[in-house]
Symmetry: C2
Subunit: 198 residues, 2 copies
């Protein structure tokens, strides 16, 4: 039982890396098993086909990661404007796994797979909806505590901010330095500042 679990997990981990850096459709099963100590027999014992593995990557790897990196800090925030900025700063300039060149794992997969596979679309939709709602909750708390203007619409703001994040990660792919992230963060800062009561 122990070994099997670790085999399965190592497939998912390596697949996640490969999908993140090369895309889902460009990641072949042969490549996955070639870069892990796993044979094809083992792969198809754990997953009935490639798509089932892809969905497991979303649900078992990406979802927990997203929850830790985004949702948790947002839900525990008492100063949403400050914490949203801090989170974005961390994701764009500090996080060592999310390489500039490769964008956002969830954003990439959404773009590639949602028009093609409905199950992927559903899994990714759940992931992003949860994230958006966490940000809305944080913003609502800011409104209630009086730090944020009562006139703002938290759904609008959450969608606006997250769109910006996905978009700038795409811009980041085109440049080889962090300049565009710095420029983006400056404008994000002033946008967020404008949400605050002064």
């Amino acid at each position: 039982m122990k070994k099997a679990v670790s085999t399965r997990l190592s497939i998912l981990q390596k697949s996640f890396e490969l999908i993140y850096t090369h895309g889902y459709q460009a990641t072949s099963i042969d490549t996955i098993i070639a870069t892990t100590n796993v044979t094809k027999g083992a792969f198809f014992y754990h997953f009935k086909n490639k798509d089932e593995m892809g969905l497991a990557v979303i649900n078992e790897i990406m979802y927990p990661l997203m929850y830790a990196d985004f949702v948790k800090p947002l839900l525990s925030s008492n100063d949403p404007v400050h914490d949203i900025y801090k989170m974005m700063h961390y994701l764009l300039l500090e996080n060592e796994f999310l390489l500039k060149k490769y964008g956002c794992p969830a954003g990439n997969l959404t773009q590639e797979m949602s028009p093609v596979n409905q199950l992927f679309s559903q899994a990714l939709s759940k992931l992003t909806t949860e994230l958006k709602e966490a940000m809305q909750i944080a913003l609502k708390k800011g409104k209630d505590s009086g730090s944020i203007k009562s006139g703002i619409n938290e759904e609008q703001v959450a969608l606006f901010v997250l769109s910006g994040y996905w978009g700038i990660r795409n811009f980041g792919k085109l440049s080889d330095d962090n300049d565009c992230y710095i420029v983006y963060l400056e404008e994000l800062k002033s946008y967020l500042k404008n949400l605050e009561k002064n």
Copy 2:
């Protein structure tokens, strides 16, 4: 000479559609020739390989399209805040070619190909840079004419707005109605309004 040009163009047109809706790597040459009146011999007469064709799609189809849809309206704008909003509204809710489900052609291709192929990255970088600069010029004109606050940084604003566009088009892929576009546009409107002198 006439016929050859039209053959080449029909390859590019159809390829653009297929790449837009299915992605570059998922679009096979066999599919392209099967959906056009073009044989493999003709394809490889006009393009020495698939990547050369892909680059031609960027430079000869996407670039002119982007220029007409984005750059031109921006450069001729005398009311940038109003015209940027109008442009986004058009792109998200009115344009009949850009289907919600399939995102933004340039955004898609950037995400898929820029980490993988440097020539694609360069061609797409040129395209987006030109677009960003057009928006900066429009914003600068607004500053000079006094309709926009002198304190804003037009590079920041341009990058912020375009990131939001790419991002929301990715969100759009996950939903089957236009609601997220409408929510996004509301917040964009209030963001842009805040750039104006009042």
